[in-house]
């Protein structure tokens, strides 16, 4: 029997998801034995013409990482959807929008102005900014436009499974590949990771008091976490209670609190809201002033609670007045 065909593709990502596949290290040779990799742009020279030549369903699975922001990326993922039996959203950006999704709290015009007009080192008296079409000594050059919004993969195409994480740890990649090879797949739409919150498997869980109360949040800028104590009990915001486990607690092992890259647990619609609710119910403020001080101690709720998930949250993006050219 022919080996199953597998495709890897990247959209709007940093390349870290590709590195996690390279980090399979010696196991990558086993993967190459078990499957035929028919597309992996970072390392192999298979091209668009090859993808177009596939019969629909010929390729067993496409692992697609990155958020979607360019029409060119949309065309690619739609083509892969047509040709592949399964599509797996690989990593936080494809799953939730990821850190680039924080751009949904800004506008295209602000991004352009800060980069090309206002940066401290930019010398640009003519106010030149990149153009979709430009002419240099008669030579016509083109650049792609980018969408005003960053989107998660399932806002653009139908997605069968999700592999969470920024990036997904290679152990979960191996689990997913094996599940596909052995045809032991969970129901469509599943996130291939444990269903419990990170707190449940956290090595510091023992030190999390049942009646946890927080009077004020500490800043990592000016305080250092205790190497063994629950971060919330120690006064640092940790997304553990609202975040799916399965990451191997790597940030925790680095003595740093969770920022939520695995996304919400299955029963939660909006990870940021869930965490905000958890925090609010733990706040030990009994006067209006104490409440205000407690709220103020959480600097940047948007960028912290929605660090990885703004595009798929109930907020989705910052509101912009109608008619604004973003």
């Amino acid at each position: 029997m022919a080996k199953p065909k597998v495709a890897f593709y990247w959209c709007a990502s940093c390349g870290g998801c590709e590195e996690t596949i390279v980090d399979l290290a010696e196991d990558i040779l086993k993967v190459v034995e078990a499957v035929d990799i028919v597309l992996w742009p970072v390392a192999l020279d298979f091209k668009l013409k090859d993808v177009k030549a596939w019969k629909p369903g010929e390729v067993a699975v496409a692992f697609i990482n990155g958020a979607v922001r360019l029409s060119e990326q949309e065309e690619w993922v739609k083509l892969l959807r047509e040709k592949c039996s399964l599509v797996v959203a690989f990593g936080s950006c494809a799953h939730l929008g990821g850190i680039p999704g924080l751009a949904n709290a800004t506008t295209r015009d602000e991004i352009i102005a800060n980069k090309y007009l206002r940066a401290p080192t930019v010398n640009n008296p003519e106010g030149t900014v990149p153009q979709e079409k430009s002419k240099v000594n008669g030579f016509e050059l083109e650049l792609p436009n980018f969408w005003k919004d960053v989107k998660a993969l399932d806002e653009v195409i139908d997605v069968d499974y999700y592999l969470p994480g920024c990036p997904p740890p290679f152990e979960t990649v191996a689990t997913a590949v094996n599940a596909i090879l052995e045809n032991k797949l969970p129901p469509k739409g599943s996130v291939i990771a444990p269903e419990k919150a990170l707190c449940e498997t956290c090595p510091r869980n023992e030190s999390k008091p049942d009646d946890l109360t927080i009077t004020s949040f500490k800043r990592l800028a000016t305080s250092t976490p205790d190497p063994e104590k629950c971060f919330l009990a120690d006064g640092f915001l940790c997304m553990g209670p609202a975040t799916r486990g399965g990451c191997g607690e790597r940030c925790i092992n680095g003595n740093m609190p969770c920022r939520g890259c695995f996304g919400p647990t299955p029963d939660v619609l909006d990870a940021g809201l869930k965490m905000l609710s958890a925090v609010a119910s733990r706040g030990a403020a009994d006067t209006e002033q104490a409440s205000q001080d407690f709220a103020d101690s959480l600097v940047d709720p948007l960028g912290t609670l929605y660090r990885f998930s703004l595009p798929v949250s109930m907020l989705r993006r910052r509101l912009v007045p109608t008619g604004d050219n973003q």
């Binding site: 593709y9 940093c14 980090d23 010696e26 013409k49 850190i99 800004t106 991004i111 010398n123 990149p130």
Partner: protein, 486 residues
């Protein structure tokens, strides 16, 4: 009648890029442009974030060199909060950084740039990749490459939490130290890394330097540019990746400037072109003179060969010997041969491995004083490191509460953006004559940028992606007269 050839995307690099080549009536290259068609806007969406989170957010600029952004950001935070980390903390950061430089340089040599030499510049496209390298050098050596990178990356993961997007850097120090047991284990990794770097230099010697055609290619004028060079140096003017002063030398090798990171805005400015999302930094005092080299041009190159060119040598003995041998063969310093970046990269990998070993033999590395907590009011900070692909600048402004109000990032491939564009154009002019185009020739044009190991994800803080390589030849009415696909 002008004809146009499009190479989209360029491959075996990190990030997007496309090359537009315009031919004249005779079929020779009139102009060539390397365009970077992406932009993400970290400078903007980081505003309003607490500055200390930058060390965790900015690694997402690039998953291939997240450690470079993490460490540059962490050093920027030291400066922002006016705090000096304890010696152990600095050494722990430099240890992680050296392990990273080592494995990243190996990644480029064996996976990205190396196939052009190990397999061959005009070898079939299907073999010009890591699998082709494995076929050439054997599974045993391939296994060693994989194992070496894994061990370096395990060290980073143990120390910094995650290898892809590390978390341990804090203003004034790090969140975590190492035990004596870990030190001994890492020391074995460092010793293996030193051996493996020497092996890689020998491989380069046997496969590249003993092949006259390759040496001719390296020294071919089509791949040379007489530019300024920049890089961090220590107090003895030796190459340093983690800290030091920025030194700039002119095309003749004379020192042009030497300054502390804090003063970078006095020396550099960025130029904007309407046809690319990348900005083009240049030496302020020489000014922007366009995409040209020579003594009057403000264009400055960064990354391995540039670092070797600005320094007086390497700070470790084996790397110093390799450094001397390299310049002997290249005919002295500074070397202008773009393809020699590959060689300098391996010299640096050896230095990084030796530096790992030195740090692990330092008793202070297992110290427990790993952080000085900031007490002063933050305002403005600048952090500079040498990323694998060149000098990397993080520059933050905050309010009194340490919340970001302005962010400036000039990354390694930014500095090399103009030189890469020039190198691609010059290689295109040297390789494409009389309208003759084939896959091998186009790859030899791509080799001009690959030598820099560019990271266009970094350069535009952009979104890597991939399109097939298509070369189309158009006539003046825009009609396709020839199409090639790799």
């Amino acid at each position: 009648m002008s004809k146009r050839i499009t190479i989209n995307p360029i491959t075996r690099l990190e990030g997007h890029g496309k090359i537009e080549i315009f031919l004249d009536d005779a079929g020779d290259v009139e102009r060539a442009f390397l365009q970077i068609p992406e932009l993400r806007g970290f400078e903007t969406f980081c505003l309003g974030r607490p500055a200390e989170e930058m060390a965790r957010i900015t690694p997402r600029i690039c998953g291939v060199c997240p450690t470079a952004h993490h460490i540059a950001s962490t050093k920027c935070l030291d400066d922002l909060w006016h705090v000096d980390p304890p010696p152990t903390a600095k050494k722990l950061r430099e240890l992680v950084y050296s392990a990273f430089m080592c494995e990243d340089h190996f990644l480029h040599f064996y996976f990205l740039g190396g196939p052009d030499f190990v397999v061959g510049p005009t070898a079939p496209a299907t073999e010009r990749n890591i699998l082709g390298v494995i076929a050439k050098v054997g599974l045993d050596i391939a296994g060693q490459v994989i194992a070496m990178r894994r061990k370096c990356r395990e060290l980073i993961e143990t120390m910094a939490g995650k290898v892809i997007h590390p978390v341990f850097g804090l203003p004034g120090g790090v969140s975590k130290g190492i035990t004596e047991e870990q030190r001994l284990e890492f020391l074995k990794t460092a010793e293996t890394a030193v051996e493996f770097a020497q092996f890689s230099l020998n491989l380069f010697n046997d496969v590249v330097l003993k092949n006259d055609d390759y040496v001719k290619l390296i020294l071919d004028d089509a791949y040379a540019h007489r530019t300024n060079y920049m890089g961090l140096v220590d107090e003895n003017n030796k190459v340093n990746f983690y800290d030091g002063h920025v030194r700039v030398v002119g095309p003749d090798g004379d020192e042009f400037a030497r300054f502390a990171p804090r003063d970078y805005t006095d020396h550099f400015a960025e130029h904007v072109e309407p046809w690319s999302y990348v900005t083009f930094p240049y030496l302020k005092s020489k000014g922007w003179k366009g995409f040209v080299d020579g003594p009057d041009s403000g264009v400055v190159r960064a990354a391995p060969l540039a670092r070797c060119n600005v320094a007086d040598g390497m700070a470790t003995p084996l790397a110093q010997a390799a450094y001397e041998k390299m310049y002997e063969t290249l005919g002295g310093k500074p070397a202008h041969a773009t393809l020699a970046f590959h060689w300098a990269r391996l010299v640096e990998a050896l230095y990084a491995a030796e530096r790992m070993k030195e740090l692990l033999e330092d008793p202070e590395i297992t110290g427990t004083d790993i952080r000085t907590e900031p007490t002063r009011t933050p305002d403005e900070g600048i952090g500079i490191v040498e990323a694998p692909r060149g000098t990397l600048v993080h520059h933050y402004f905050t309010d009194d509460n340490g919340v970001l109000t302005k962010v400036n990032l000039i990354v390694a491939t930014n500095f090399n953006a103009a030189p890469i564009a020039m190198s691609v154009e010059k290689a295109a002019k040297g390789m494409i004559k009389g309208g003759k185009v084939n896959d091998g020739l186009l790859n030899m044009v791509e080799m001009a940028f690959r030598a820099y190991d560019p990271c266009h994800a970094c350069a535009t803080h952009s979104l890597p992606g991939q399109m097939p390589l298509v070369a189309r030849v158009y006539d003046s009415t825009g009609k396709t007269i020839k199409e090639l696909r790799r």
